[in-house]
């Protein structure tokens, strides 16, 4: 072999990852030093990459149907041939072994033919892929799961309840992946789940043939992975998180390159896991505010005179609205107005809340940065403000994340101007999502980016000074209607709290 051929072999083997580590290092050294060698390698790489342009075949259902027909036909012919040969074999050999072997072949072929007649045959063959079609459609490669798993395991370990839930899903995945279990599993499904599975089956078959093949390959790669248990857990965690995401956001993530996709998702999932620690039911929030109420009443009593003065300055419409609120809500709104420009009172408020929190949450809460304590306190306050006895807002809905639009609109109005502008610039669905997150005291990426700015502006241990205040531009009223992405704010003018109350 001549030297240039030898060199080419080294280059090709290097590109294919088939060189031992030592030789690879030598190639890399030569690459750094030898321009001609580098060009040769780049040329070989370019030509190899161009093969990606080669069209790939996709095969319609007809292909597998006719192939299976051929196989079943072969089995039938085998049965016929053996059946004809049976008496001869018996006569000639007379051995039980030959008879048994023949019978086994016959039985196998018959079983094969019977299975082919199964009306659920297509579903059974693709069952694990069909069952997971929704989540498999959300990423392109097993590398995404590897990367996501690596990033999540660094900072967001599972809690025990989540772990158990995922364990059950994992067990089901493994059960359904085994071909022999599928029919029994299908049989045991409740009627509703069967309907849902049928819908998934239809969704799977609505995909292009190429995409179907990709999903099958994805499933195969996950199954073949050494760390498939971990990958599946990560996949199910990802699925759980995705369920709370709007379609547009899911689409955005799906179309990112693998590493950006994994990085973005991991970051948001970690944030969600951290927020999960401070999730409270409506009842828990009411409990907290039962302890906070004496403090609120004290402040409201102290400021009563100022409230009365300001009430008289309100427009008749604003006054009517304020007076239509329940006593509880009037008190809460009055309190909000009382503390809105007073960092000291806000800090006091946060301290009172911290004191009233369930013991398992209290210390962790106190360790949060001020901007996060503020976000959470504001969220709890909002959720407690309209309770109890306000029939407009359903506690159950609020807890499930289904917040009445009016309440979200009220919440929006009281955000800071730049935050409102940022939200208004988002697509409607995404804006709603981020607004709901804020409502529940969950920081957005934007909040996180600004946290250092916030922290520097807050007094030590206190909320930001202008926490609830709307600036002058806001006084003009609600966000403009008809803006792209903006929610509907029907009647929001009426919902604004009275102005200028100090």
């Amino acid at each position: 072999m001549n030297p240039s051929q030898q060199q080419l072999e080294r280059i090709v083997a290097y590109l294919d990852g088939e060189l031992p580590a030592e030789e690879s290092a030598q190639v890399e050294q030569q690459l750094a030093a030898d321009e001609q060698f580098r060009q040769q390698l780049q040329g070989a790489e370019r030509a190899w990459a161009a093969l990606d342009q080669l069209p790939m075949a996709s095969v319609a259902d007809e292909f597998s149907r006719t192939t299976m027909d051929m196989v079943v036909d072969a089995a039938r012919r085998k049965v016929e041939a053996k059946t004809i040969a049976l008496p001869i074999q018996r006569r000639q050999r007379g051995t039980a072994i030959a008879l048994l072997a023949t019978m086994a072949v016959l039985l196998g072929a018959v079983v094969f033919r019977v299975a082919w007649q199964n009306p659920n045959r297509r579903l059974l063959a693709d069952l694990p892929v069909v069952q997971h079609v929704d989540i498999y459609s959300q990423f392109r490669s097993v590398e995404f799961l590897q990367e996501l798993d690596r990033r999540l395991s660094e900072a967001a370990p599972l809690d025990s309840a989540e772990g158990e839930q995922l364990q059950a899903k994992l067990a089901e995945f493994q059960f359904v992946s085994a071909v022999d279990n599928r029919e029994d599993w299908l049989e045991s499904l409740p009627a509703d789940d069967k309907v849902s599975l049928r819908a998934k089956f239809n969704r799977f078959h609505e995909l292009s043939i190429e995409r179907q093949s990709e999903l099958r390959e994805l499933h195969r790669q996950i199954e073949a992975a050494d760390n498939r248990g971990l990958l599946l857990r990560t996949m199910f965690r990802y699925q759980q998180w995705l369920n709370g995401l709007p379609q547009s956001k899911q689409f955005e993530y799906r179309n990112l390159p693998t590493s950006d996709h994994a990085r973005g998702v991991a970051s948001e999932m970690k944030q969600a896991a951290s927020e999960h620690r401070f999730e409270m039911t409506a009842e828990q929030i009411q409990d907290v505010f039962r302890h906070v109420r004496p403090h609120i009443q004290k402040v409201v009593r102290k400021k009563q005179k100022v409230f009365d003065q300001n009430l008289s300055k309100m427009s008749p419409r604003e006054r009517r609205h304020f007076q239509s609120l329940s006593k509880h809500e009037q008190a809460m709104r009055s309190y909000q107005l009382a503390i809105k420009d007073s960092p000291e009172q806000m800090r006091e408020f946060i301290d009172v809340i911290a004191e009233a929190l369930p013991s398992e949450m209290r210390d962790t809460f106190r360790q949060l940065p001020p901007w996060e304590k503020f976000n959470l306190s504001r969220s709890w306050f909002w959720r407690a403000r309209s309770q109890p006895g306000n029939d407009r807002r359903s506690v159950a809905h609020r807890h499930s994340g289904n917040i009445p639009e009016q309440e979200l609109a009220d919440f929006f109005v009281e955000l800071e101007t730049d935050e409102k502008e940022r939200l208004l610039a988002l697509p409607r669905e995404e804006m709603q999502r981020q607004l709901k997150r804020k409502y529940f005291g969950r920081g957005s990426r934007h909040d996180r980016l600004r946290r250092s700015d916030w922290d520097s502006r807050l007094p030590p241990g206190g909320p930001r000074p202008d926490g609830w205040r709307r600036d002058r531009r806001d006084q003009s009223g609600p966000p403009p209607r008809g803006l792209r992405g903006g929610p509907r704010f029907d009647g929001e003018l009426d919902r604004r709290p009275p102005r200028g109350v100090e």
Binding site: M1, Q5, L8, E9, I11, V12, A13, D16, E18, G43, A44, R46, A47, W48, A50, L51, Q53, L54, P55, M56, A57, S58, V59, F63, S64, T66, T67, M68, M70, V71, A74, A75, V105, L107, G108, A109, V111, F112, A115, W116, N118, R121, R122, L124, A125, D126, S177, V179, D180, R182, I209, E210, S213, R216, E217, R220, E223, A224
Partner: protein, 210 residues
């Protein structure tokens, strides 16, 4: 060659397709269909690039599946399932190409050397396509040129390239499929790449429209 129990166990544990094939051995039709679903498109693609005709490629792929079914009772996992399946595919494709060559249905004069000049087919095909390197190609045209470049490789080079590029088989696995040594495959692939580069380079230097 006899396959040891430990080898069989190793492949059974590592390769989900081997586990499916073992169920096919036990006459499980669903397992067979699942295997088929997993590989049918890839196999038809491979055959199409090998024999150059889609209808024939589908027939050959069906033949491969039929052989897998017939061989099921003798199946012992001695390699990854895909390696075993591509070995069958290689035999089926080689027989078909020999048959075609005998009937002179296609020009199958392959070159064992790396010289493109030795194969007038490629040069002729390129000239006939009108896709001359002096102008910018769009994606469809580039795809056509790549197809021509691949079809200009000889049968063995083509098989090795397709298995390596699209089926991600290692040199060792390709060697097993093609019943050659890994070092022979290394040479084969380097010659194939040199040939591909020779045909494609002028077009790639021009770049492609997207």
């Amino acid at each position: 060659m006899a396959i040891s129990d430990s080898t069989a166990q190793r492949y059974t544990a590592q390769d989900p397709d081997v586990r499916l094939m073992l169920q096919v051995r036990d006459d499980n039709a669903a397992a067979f269909e699942e295997l088929m679903q997993r590989y049918q498109s890839r196999l038809v693609s491979l055959m199409t690039h090998l024999v150059g005709r889609r209808d024939m490629a589908e027939d050959l792929a069906q033949d491969v599946f039929l052989r897998i079914y017939r061989a099921r009772k003798r199946y012992v996992p001695g390699s990854k399932f895909s390696t075993w399946m591509y070995t069958i595919a290689n035999n089926v494709a080689s027989n078909a190409l020999r048959g075609l060559a005998r009937r002179k249905e296609v020009n199958l004069v392959g070159r064992e050397s790396g010289e493109l000049g030795g194969n007038p087919l490629a040069a002729k095909a390129l000239a006939a396509s009108g896709l001359m390197p002096t102008r910018l190609l769009d994606k469809a045209e580039l795809s056509e040129v790549v197809k021509i470049a691949v079809s200009a490789l000889n049968e063995r080079q083509r098989m090795a390239v397709l298995l390596n590029k699209f089926e991600h088989l290692s040199y060792e696995e390709i060697a097993e499929v093609m019943q050659q040594s890994p070092s022979a495959i290394k040479s084969l692939l380097s010659r194939a790449r040199a040939n591909l580069r020779e045909v494609l380079e002028p077009y790639l230097e021009q770049g492609a429209k997207v």
